[in-house]
Structure formats: C-alpha cells, structure tokens
Symmetry: C2
Subunit: 384 residues, 2 copies
C-alpha cells in the first residue's frame, strides 16, 4: 500500500547510520559530533551512538585535530572522517586486444592503473588468466591487499545478462555463454558487476567525461562493428534482454557491408582489421590517396547511418563518439552535418574525453555504485 512507517527499530538504525555517513562524506573537512547533529537533524546522543558503531565497523575514523579545535575548557572537540581507505574497488576492461584495470578507494579516487596486451585469438581461459595477472600486478604495485576489495566492475563486449553471463559475443573467442561474473567472483571473492563495454563507457563519460551533466546521451563505440551505450534520465538503458545499442547489425540488412570491405583500398577485404590497419587507411586518405579517401568515406557513411538510427530512436541530448584511438576527428564533421540535416532535433556531437580509459573508468563507476548502494542507500531513496 506504500504507507510510510518509521517504527521498525533496525530500519531506523539503518536510516540514521546512512544519514550520518552521507553527512560525513558531504562535509567540507572533518565535522564534529555537533556539526553532524546539526547537519542530520538527529540528536547528539543518537549521532554519538551511530558514529561509535561506524568506527567499530571501520568506516569512520577520528580525524587529526587542528590548532583551532580547542574548547573553552581546553579539551579539543573530536572530529571524524569517512575512511575511504577502508576498502578498494577495481574497474576492469576485457577487450579483444588488451585487458586493463584501474584501482580506487571507496570514494572512487584512483590509486593506480595497468594495461596489458592480449592476443585476439586467446581462449576465454587465457584471457581470464591475463585479467587475473594484470590485477595481481596492479594490487602488488599499489601495495593493496586483495582482501580489501569490496567490488569489481567489468566492461566487456557482447550482450551481458544481469547475473554477469555473456549471452552473445562475436568479438572474443569462447566468450558466448561464459559465466564471466561467476568466474571472476571466484577469483576476487567480492561482488563482480559485468556490463557491456559501450554501456560502461557511457557511464564513464557521464561520470568524468564530456557527458558530465547530460543524463540523456548515447556513447558510440566506433569499433569494427559499432556498438552503443545509452543513458536515459541518468540511468543506463540496457534494453529488455541487455542488447540495446547493438546497432552494428543494421547494415547487414539488405547488403553485406562489413568494415573489412568498407575500409578496403585494394578490392580485397582489409585483413587483419585492427587499429593499426585502420589508422593507416585514415593516414593514406589524409595524404590524398583516392582509394583510401573513398574507403574512409564509405566507412563514415556507415557510421553516420548507424548513429542516425540511434539518434532517431532515442532522441538523446548528446552523442559521444569514442573507441578508435585514431581517425575519429575525420568522422565528427560529417556526423554533425548529416545529423543536423536529417534529425528533427539534432543532438550535440562530441568526441570522447576519456578515450582509451572510458571502459575501465565506467567499470570502476559500476563498482563504486555498488558500494554506494550498500553503504549510503535507504530503501526508497537514491544514493546521493
């Protein structure tokens, strides 16, 4: 019936604890018990009891006392702070050519980052081993014990189910059907949140990139087959089956326009198709090579069409293009021009600000979201 009640004492304790933690995290500097009582509108004895519990739980510590903190009687007022170092978070990217990880504290402040190459032909086991090795090295370098990990976020290509199983992935060998979340939970012994790579990148650009402040945005991962992640009202839109934004198949309808053919300058499919090969085609085009220019034009036309489809379907405020390390500057102008011409309400179009770090950063945001929900959410209210 949705009736409001605050009579459950354990719920009340949880609310008070959440309110105090929020106030601690939101405070400039380290507040005193009186500051906290004022900020939370809770009585001083209640605040004192809650803070004691949080200190015992390791989430709050007494802060160092400054010279101005002396009461009339000469006894300094105690000050408190949120212990962001009480636990750690990982953001992990698992891609076709590389795996990468970023380590952060419970406030999301970054402590270190490490990337490693991996073969596009690696089996699922080899790729997972590469992830474990990269994370182990990162933890060692940062002198962070594995036991302090509170949550791990992962960005990976493919359609990902809510339990972290990869439903379908054509980009990584052996990835379709892989219980990725479960496998990594066994290694890390903490919650593991797996998300489609373009979805993770969308979260990242909203958190720390060019989409800060734009809750209605599409991130286009302009890889071999374009994929996209979308935020609607600040929340990830995964779709009914986790397949939203998998726009790469649109061009298969009616014609067989693979990127290998689109980017070919020889009449034969471009092989291997990796960033280096693509960069070469873009460079040739800039130097005036006519075949390369036609190839880039074909490739851009496909990207414009796919992005236009996303924009017409979703009507975002902002489109962020990322994914290729190179060549994207050439795509931006035709994209803006064509969208302005054909969309009833053309969106802003920007390049990714996070570039190669978009997926790890988004994966870290997932992990941070998980602990924020654990620590700072009361039923019926969102994290702050």
């Amino acid at each position: 019936m949705g009736r409001l009640t605050g009579r459950d004492p354990s719920l009340l304790r949880r609310i008070n604890s959440t309110v105090v933690l929020r106030a601690l995290r939101a405070a400039d500097g380290a507040p005193t018990l009186s500051d906290l009582s004022q900020a939370t509108e809770l009585s001083r004895p209640t605040v004192e009891g809650v803070v004691e519990q949080l200190v015992t739980a390791g989430l709050v510590a007494e802060a160092a006392v400054g010279p101005g903190d002396v009461r009339r009687q000469g006894r300094p007022a105690r000050r408190y702070r949120f212990r962001a170092e009480a636990g750690h978070l990982l953001g992990v990217e698992i891609g076709p050519h590389r795996v990468a990880a970023v380590l952060a504290d419970l406030s999301g402040h970054r402590l270190g980052m490490l990337g490693r190459e991996v073969s596009e032909h690696a089996t699922a086991d080899e790729r997972l081993e590469r992830v474990r090795g990269t994370v182990a090295e990162l933890l060692r370098t940062c002198e962070v014990p594995r036991s302090t990990l509170r949550a791990v976020g992962v960005g990976s290509p493919g359609i990902v189910e809510s339990d972290g199983t990869v439903r379908l992935c054509t980009a990584l060998p052996g990835w379709t059907g892989l219980p990725l979340g479960e496998r990594l939970r066994r290694s890390f012994r903490c919650p593991v949140l797996v998300e489609n790579d373009a979805n993770a990148a969308a979260l990242a650009e909203h958190w720390k990139g060019v989409a800060a402040g734009s809750g209605d945005m599409v991130f286009v991962l302009a890889g071999l087959s374009p994929g996209a992640g979308s935020l609607i009202g600040g929340r990830l839109h995964r779709g009914f089956g986790g397949a939203a934004g998998e726009i790469g198949a649109l061009h298969l309808l009616g014609r067989e326009a693979t990127p290998e053919r689109l980017l070919s300058t020889t009449g034969e499919p471009l092989h291997p198709l990796d960033e280096a090969a693509v960069a070469e085609v873009f460079a040739l085009a800039r130097e005036g090579d006519a075949r390369a220019q036609r190839a880039v034009e074909r490739f851009n036309r496909r990207l414009v069409h796919d992005v236009a489809a996303l924009v017409l379907a979703l009507d975002p405020e902002l489109v962020v293009v990322g994914g290729w390390a190179t060549g994207l500057d050439d795509v931006l102008d035709p994209l803006r021009r064509e969208l302005a011409r054909y969309c009833l309400r053309p969106p802003r179009v920007e390049l990714s600000l996070l570039a190669g770090e978009a997926i790890t950063t988004g994966a870290l945001r997932l992990a941070l979201g998980h602990v924020e929900e654990e620590l700072f959410t009361v039923e019926g209210t969102g994290p702050f």
Copy 2:
C-alpha cells in the same frame, strides 16, 4: 536528505485519504467502514472521518445495501463506493484525415466515442474547430455536461513539448509552433495533456491492447512516414527533446525513398497517398500484379529497416505494428523473419489490437493518468 517523516498533519490526512480511495477502488463490491479499516490498517474512527470528507468532496457515495447486509441488531452496515461518475475524461485524436474523441468516467470506463473526417488541407483553426464540434456532439449524445470534464488527453502527429506546444509537425498544415495544449485548455477549461500520436498508441496497447504486461515495447505507427512510440520499464520514453521514435527520416540518409515512390506502380509518384491508395496497391499485389508486388516489397523493406533500427537501438520485448487500416498482415511475416535474422535478441512482433482506436485510447489513458495522480498518489509512491 531523504529522511522519512509522517509528522506533518496535512500530509498525514492526504496519505489516509489516498489509502482509503485506493482501497475503495480496489475492493470487490462496496466495502463497509470495517472492511476499509481492515484493508487500510487505519483505525475505524480515522476511516470514518476520511470517508466523510470524501463524501463531502463528491468522490465517494453510500452504496445501495444488499439483503445480506443486516447486523444482529437489525441495522444494516453502510457500504461505500468510489463515485467514478463524479467527473469525466476525454481522449482525443487529431490526425491528417480525421479527428475522434472518446468519453469516459473517472475509472476510465468508456461512455461513448465519435469520429469525424477532416480535410488533410484544413488549416489549424479549421482542424481545431472540427475537434471542438466533435467533442460537443459527443458530450451532447452522452448527456454529459462540459463542466464535469476533469482532464483531456490528446494524440497528434509531430514533436510535442511538455507544455503541449507542437515543436515540429510536417503532417498537418499550420501545426508547427501551434500552442495546441493552451488552445484546447481555453476550450475545455480543464487540464489538457498533448502527446505524440505514436506515443499515445504505445500507452494504449500497454493499457488495453496486445502489449498488456509488456512494459518494454515499441509501437510502430506504419503511416506515410513511419513513427514510433516506446515504453521503457512501463514508462513512455519521449527523448530529450520529445523526438524519440521519429524514425521516418532514416531512409532519407543517402537516398530519396519516399513512400510515394516506394509504393508507385507506374514509375510516377503515387498521388494522393492515402489509405485507399495504399490499400489498392496491396490488393493488386495480392491478385498477382508484378509491379504492385515489387512496390509492396520495396515498402516492406523500408519498414523492416526502420523497425530494425528501433529494435537494435532499444532492445524491446515486443514490437506492435499499427497505423494502416489495411495491408499490415503482409508486413508481419517479412518483419519477423528479418528481425530474427539480424537482431541479436529478436523481439516478439504483433499487430495492434486496438487498430483505429489506439490513439484515442492512449489519449484517454493520459487523461486518466492525470486524475489518478491527482487523486491517488502520495509523494514517494506511484499510482496503483
């Protein structure tokens, strides 16, 4: 800070009043005060006070007493019911060829319906006059005084701003820039909610059609230029600027494939392009006319492409196709086949169940949603 409180007495009264109204509407038959007290967990004196207020406000009435309703002492227990007849709602469709209106009570039960043709060349003033005339005739026929209208929903082509102004509409002359909500509020003297026609149809199929139970769906209005409305998690997705689903422009990218050309059997553009002309082409195709068959195939291919774009972008559970009164059966099979082939997670595809009444029904749902929010919502809980 999101803290829970129930200490504000006027808020408490509002909560109690909402809880009692919900219980009254949800009850099988007419409940007694004791039934209501049990259903709401409110004390009997509180329920009695609330019911008295609601009777005074005209929203609740004593129900007729049945023969079984006799207490030991011989005095029958009073029973109560929600007065759905306390006000009325309108759902209005304003299209290129016709205007239509449906009238309902406060529970959304339909009392009457009326449709009238209008010229596709009519000016905005002429079209609005047609709407007013149609509504006046409907109210007269149903013997409902205009003063009892509590809310009016409207479905109309184009991009509609949240205040009911039409931002852009190519289908109706003089519609772009029209303050449609404001103009109709002046006529009806009650809240008027304007929505894009495909959006309204999506709401309708979810409420009373083939999408009942599917909160992640796309309604494709297969008109001259296909448009679409989408629900995500049971809520309308309008997009950042109200243009979500305006997929009709996708085919303009790179080629000039208008429906007039797609459906032509003569080499010359089909003119006038209306439902009768389209029905004729579909009928010719069914009789074996080769040019008509090629025309239908071209037309279907465009629709499949546009729907595929929507499906890849949004990943809905269900696609509902409606809009044409005829010929859609022929579209369903190729649509299912192609979506199964190219979409990573193909959705269910169904024909509209409401057909020509989808837009008025959706417009009525908008009006009903408005009064439900007014009458049955407490801050922090949704309508039931």
